[in-house]
């Protein structure tokens, strides 16, 4: 015969009182913070799309840049797109391998010696240098001797990208568990082999996305290009000589113009730039996923 006892209903919820309230407050604060961040971003995107979408067309993407007075339906941003791609590609080719190698030295070889400390320190300092200073720096040491060129712009952008690549690659390398290195050493691998065949492949996903981040940053920079490419409006297929142009630079110029047509083209350029950055992000995700397929 079961005797049913009067049991207290077990209440496992957070007891009423300050803790529950403060939990709620903080949760709402976090949501608020998120909204505050997302809303302006949304604004920017929406504005750009709204203002620039109408002008985008194949003609826009390939035609040469007309004078500012020209109305919106004439001409396009072709040279700027070419310029952006040229200059950013050059900068990437210079900065990314250098940055990866630097990070490898810092993490795998340098240890606690003075050179590693030096490199690390200066790399961190460089992250904080304003981009226009980079432009001025390249102006002084390169442009004054060799003239304006896309290559000079690439140098300036490269200087911007380098510390980002070093820092992110370094962090990714550090995340590779030491057990993997030991496993490789125990099979009779040299340090270089260990780094190349085990550490780098394991960190590659993260390294690539770090590099992509750097590229995305460089794509949108204007200030360092001011003193290095001498913004022009013609296509210059040779990045090594002669002035050049880029999308951000054109946006800068066009936004300053009082002419409606120029402004419209500026918006179109802005939208194009955002799309390029977006495409870079997607490619980065794809590459990361491909390289990390063994990490699951």
């Amino acid at each position: 015969m079961a005797v049913v006892a009067e049991q207290q209903q077990l209440d496992l919820r957070e007891p009423k009182g300050w803790r529950r309230t403060s939990n709620r407050i903080v949760t709402w604060l976090m949501v608020l913070a998120f909204v505050v961040v997302v809303v302006p971003l949304g604004f920017v995107l929406v504005t750009t799309v709204v203002k620039g979408a109408s002008i985008i067309s194949w003609q826009f993407l390939t035609s040469s840049i007309p004078p500012n007075v020209a109305p919106a339906d004439i001409g396009g941003m072709g040279p700027a797109i070419v310029g952006t791609i040229e200059i950013t590609a050059l900068a990437t080719i210079m900065a990314v391998p250098l940055g990866i190698l630097g990070a490898i030295y810092l993490n795998e070889y340098g240890g606690k010696n003075w050179l590693a400390a030096l490199i690390g320190f200066f790399s961190d300092v460089m992250t904080g240098v304003p981009s226009i200073i980079m432009g001025l720096f390249i102006f002084t040491i390169w442009v004054l001797h060799f003239g304006f060129s896309g290559f000079a712009g690439a140098l300036a952008l490269g200087c911007l990208m380098l510390p980002i690549v070093i820092r992110s690659t370094y962090e990714m390398l550090r995340l590779v568990p030491n057990a993997l290195r030991e496993g490789s050493y125990a099979l009779g691998a040299t340090k270089a082999r260990v780094t190349m065949t085990v550490v780098l492949p394991a960190a590659l996903g993260g390294i690539v996305s770090g590099a992509m981040l750097a590229v995305a940053r460089a794509v949108g920079e204007t200030a360092p290009l001011l003193f290095t490419i001498l913004i022009v409006t013609t296509v210059n297929k040779n990045p090594f000589s002669g002035a050049n142009t880029s999308l951000p630079s054109q946006i800068f110029v066009n936004a300053n113009s009082p002419f409606v047509g120029a402004q419209a083209r500026g918006w179109g350029a802005a939208l194009t730039l955002i799309v390029i950055a977006f495409v870079l992000m997607v490619v980065a995700r794809f590459i990361t996923a491909r390289f990390s397929r063994f990490s699951r």
Binding site: G111, K112, P177, A179, L180, R181, E182, G183, S184, Y185, A186, L187, G188, A189, T190, R193, T197, V198, P201, A202, S292, R293, F294, S295, R296
Partner: protein
């Protein structure tokens, strides 16, 4: 019964009676000596982790290192294939001879040493590559490019590690997707693929369940006729199940200088260590009374 001789460095102030290891006479007879560890002390910078260890490892035997935490058994194991070189500040006094040749002279390449003396670690550490690439890794870095030869090596090593039947249909799958026991066997296959002479194992089963442990122990007994195995283990039943000889290490505390160091207390055939231990410290440890 033979006593090994010890010269206690005056700087250590360790009582001689405690530093001397007890070694049974037959530890030195019969069979080839693969390793001759000769008065080895290991330092991490200025910290002396292990003091004056001397013993001989026999070919085609399984030798177990047992002892409490901090007694230096893993340190000694790692000196056998120069893995301690990877730790900054680590250095070794004394000599270790492998098949008669010293491992610690200046012209010895640690890379060459590790190709002949492999190591399996406590936590299985398969590379984030495919199963095939994991096993083929060693031969590849040794220069093997021939596809057919690599296929043969991979199959042979996986068979040798009793893993072939379980993975033969998914050699391209990630090595990280295996269970603990399988992953450890993969690491063993990877080690066997370079055809070493000696396999060192640092608590290979401590992260595994009893079934996986049993599989690995069977594996050890099966391959010992072709290799020499030295295993560090916390599990004394494992030592009794698989090893031919057992070395018991302990921690020696110096009260005045407040230092600790690891010492070899007793080394002999496993049945003797676990049935008739000579040293009271061995007796206290194996019966679980004291560490």
């Amino acid at each position: 019964m033979e006593q090994s001789e010890q010269d206690v460095a005056t700087s250590t102030q360790l009582p001689k009676s405690q530093v001397q290891a007890t070694t049974s006479a037959d530890a030195f007879d019969t069979g080839t000596h693969i390793f001759d560890v000769d008065k080895v002390s290991c330092y991490y910078s200025s910290f002396r982790a292990v003091t004056d260890v001397s013993l001989k490892i026999h070919e085609n035997e399984i030798t177990a290192f047992i002892g409490p935490y901090g007694c230096g058994k893993t340190t000694v194991l790692r000196t056998l294939n120069r893995m301690n070189d990877l730790i900054p500040g680590a250095h070794v006094e004394g000599d270790i001879r492998y098949r008669g040749a010293s491992l610690y002279t200046k012209d010895v390449s640690p890379i060459a040493v590790r190709r002949r003396i492999g190591m399996v670690f406590q936590k299985p550490n398969p590379f984030p590559k495919s199963i095939y690439d994991n096993v083929a890794y060693g031969p590849r870095i040794n220069g093997e490019r021939n596809k057919a030869k690599l296929n043969e090596i991979v199959e042979r090593s996986l068979r040798g590690a009793a893993l072939w039947d379980e993975v033969k249909d998914r050699l391209k799958a990630s090595g990280l997707g295996l269970s603990g026991g399988q992953a450890q066997r993969l690491c063993i296959a990877r080690t066997l693929a370079v055809e070493p002479d000696v396999v060192l194992m640092d608590e290979p089963c401590s992260a595994l369940d009893p079934i996986a442990t049993g599989a690995i122990e069977d594996l050890m007994k099966e391959i010992k006729s072709r290799y020499t195995i030295v295993i560090v283990t916390h599990n004394m039943q494992q030592a009794t199940r698989v090893s031919d000889r057992t070395a018991f290490y302990s921690v020696l505390r110096n009260e005045e200088s407040d230092t600790r160091t690891g010492v070899l207390v007793e080394y002999g055939r496993t049945e003797q260590i676990f049935q008739d231990p000579q040293d009271p410290r061995t007796q206290a440890y194996v019966t679980g009374r004291m560490g």
